[in-house]
């Protein structure tokens, strides 16, 4: 076996400000997903530091980091990863249940979020009964459940057809407009073009950044429902 160490990222220095809409692009293996996982605190760097909302995550214990992900971050995955045995509403309620939100309150918020993503009529359908686009919208609602400060999406349109991908883009636009900070990893040029700042990665390094022309707003909290 060749145990050669591969550095997925090298010398990356990046700051994301509240309210930004950032796209991370690059070819396969360039380290995009690894960078997103580092930002999201689900992976740790071999050297260097990652601060989330001013907290160096290297100093956090697993329980604290898990709690941080639960309450301050939202994740959207390419393959949605909803629990197939649960309904759309139950999937959205899951992070709130974990956070200790009372049942009635989380039920109300889940329906509010499903309405926000246009799925109020599908709340009681199981995940397996939903289309790809619907599942991704449920995943977005789930990511928003605990009012995160930062939303991270990994190839959110990768499994969707063009039309459905456009719907998701529209939703992201609306979320950012409503004050949600978004970081999106994508191959999708259309999606990348939507973002205010595009970071190009190649072989684990940032090779270029297109900064926003105007400073992004700095809301204290997201205003999505």
């Amino acid at each position: 076996m060749n145990d050669k160490i591969v550095h997925a990222l090298r010398g990356v220095s990046l700051e994301i400000r509240a309210g930004e809409y950032v796209g991370i692009v690059g070819p396969s293996g360039s380290g995009k997903s690894t960078l997103l996982q580092l930002i999201g605190g689900i992976d740790t760097p071999t050297s260097g530091t990652v601060e989330i909302l001013g907290t160096p995550i290297g100093a956090l214990r697993d329980r604290e980091l898990t709690r941080l992900r639960l309450t301050r971050l939202g994740f959207i995955f390419q393959r949605f990863h909803l629990l197939p045995v649960l309904t759309a509403r139950e999937n959205v309620e899951l992070p709130m249940a974990e956070a200790g939100v009372p049942a009635r309150q989380r039920r109300g918020r889940a329906l509010e979020l499903l309405t926000y993503v246009g799925l109020s009529d599908r709340a009681d359908h199981r995940a397996t009964q939903l289309s790809g686009g619907e599942m991704q919208r449920v995943a977005i609602a789930r990511a928003l459940a605990n009012r995160p400060a930062l939303l991270l999406a990994d190839e959110p349109t990768g499994e969707l057809d063009a039309a459905t991908g456009q719907e998701i883009l529209g939703l992201f636009r609306r979320l950012n407009k409503d004050g949600t900070t978004l970081v999106v990893v994508t191959h999708d040029e259309t999606l990348a073009a939507e973002t205010a700042r595009i970071i190009h990665l190649l072989d684990g390094r940032i090779v270029s950044q297109r900064e926003p022309e105007a400073p992004a707003p700095h809301p204290r909290s997201v205003s999505a429902p």
Binding site: S33, T34, Q37, G40, I42, D43, D62, R63, T66, R67, L68, R69, L70, T71, L73, G74, F75, F77, Q78, R79, H81, L83, P84, V85, L86, E90, E93, L94, P95, A97, E98, A99, R142, A143, N146, D154, E155
Partner: protein, 397 residues
């Protein structure tokens, strides 16, 4: 959405697999329950049988147990009188057990005869007709199998024949007795044709009248708690006889059954291990099929505790359903097995190998519940230790 509801839905993903697993757990649980019932049931059933009529002490010939041999106690009526004079003794009655014959037309049928003292009998329950009076030397009691064999009923006359031994050319002794009642003999084996008459009648039929012989004396005490001390006192008073309390007999019986108990423990443990392996295998497969889902849950902030709890809850749920079915199955199979085992010759029909007790059922249920938790430990650990980032990367490729 509670943890158990979530687990229930998760188990519903693969219904056939879950159903097969539950069936497997039910069979293992049934076997475990049967073995637990068997390990303590024989002893309990034996004790209950000995105490069926409330007599706590048995006096037998030295070195023997009741009806263990054909040895007899001489001058048994006098010993009974002495026992009845003891302050702690409420009742005492002599019993003589012997083979007899009954005439049916021109032929003789083999019977078992009990010579009893009706004023202190501990061997039967009256089903119909009348009981014997202490001095009723013309009356007879029949068991249902004996009545069938002799085609006799209450009010009929039956001829009993004793001392019929062609090999030693002993002359037969005959006596005609009127059937007073139909009784259920407590210690009879299944379909045993037994008859009972007052002690002197059976002694006369079997040639044991001269020596006033009997097989055993059954003693009932005024207080149950005095059994041990009275037994010790009677041993001192009657050094040439064997005096045992029911507790002593149960202890001796238990020693004889030690291998039986060990076997039931071994089989019970095997069924428990099979249950653990079955559940652990199913949950491990389930966890391995849901690695991406678990990694996602961890990524969105679901704690290790919740994830492990959900896996363990699935194990507990499987165990609960499987055990509930297993307990029902175990009780049914125990009943059938009991019927088969108690059909063996020489075993009292009232004896039971499998005795369902609340304590036994509770023990089995608790053990099975713990089994479900233990079985969830390894798959739960797998889920808890799952590397989130690596799993999500592997899932994406």
């Amino acid at each position: 959405m509670t943890g158990l509801a979530w687990s229930w839905k998760s188990l519903g993903r693969h219904r056939i697999r879950t159903a097969l697993s539950i069936a497997g757990i039910a069979v293992s649980s049934a076997m475990l329950l049967d073995m637990v019932m068997l390990s303590g049931g024989i002893e309990q059933s034996f004790t209950e049988l000995l105490l069926a009529r409330g007599y706590q002490i048995r006096v037998t010939p030295k070195g023997t147990l009741p009806f263990d041999t054909e040895a007899t106690i001489d001058s048994i009526s006098g010993i009974v009188q002495r026992l009845r004079a003891e302050p702690a003794v409420a009742e005492a009655g002599a019993v003589l057990g012997a083979a007899l014959y009954g005439r049916k037309g021109d032929s003789l049928v083999t019977l078992f005869g009990y010579g009893i003292q009706p004023e202190a009998q501990a061997l039967y329950r009256l089903d119909s007709g009348a009981d014997l009076a202490p001095d009723d030397t013309a009356g007879l009691l029949l068991s249902s199998p004996a009545a069938r064999l002799l085609s006799a009923a209450v009010g009929d006359t039956v001829e009993l024949v004793g001392r019929l031994d062609p090999q030693v050319a002993t002359a037969a002794v005959r006596k005609r007795l009127a059937v007073r009642g139909m009784v259920d003999w407590v210690y009879d084996y299944k379909d045993q044709p037994s008859v009972g008459a007052v002690l002197t009648v059976i002694q006369g039929l079997t040639g044991r009248r001269t020596g006033d012989q009997g097989s055993l004396i059954m003693v009932k005490l005024s207080q149950d708690s005095a059994a041990a001390s009275v037994t010790a006192g009677l041993r001192r008073s009657f050094p040439r006889l064997e005096v045992n309390s029911v507790a002593d007999l149960a202890r001796q019986f238990k020693q004889r059954l030690v291998y039986f108990r060990q076997l039931s423990y071994i089989l019970g443990t095997i069924s428990l291990v099979v249950t653990v392996l079955l559940i652990a295998t199913l949950l491990t497969i389930t966890v391995n099929q849901r690695l991406a889902e678990i990694a996602t849950l961890r990524a969105i902030g679901i704690s290790r505790r919740t994830v492990v709890g959900q896996v363990v809850a699935e194990g507990v749920l499987l165990t609960l359903i499987g055990s509930a079915l297993g307990i029902a199955l175990g009780l049914i199979t125990a009943r059938y097995l009991d019927d088969i085992l108690t059909s063996f010759p020489g075993l009292p029909a009232a004896f039971s190998f499998f005795v369902p007790r609340r304590g036994t059922l509770t023990t089995a249920a608790v053990v099975l519940l713990l089994t479900g938790c233990v079985a969830g430990v390894y798959p739960g650990w797998l889920a808890a230790r799952l590397p989130i980032a690596a799993t999500l990367r592997a899932e994406a490729t």
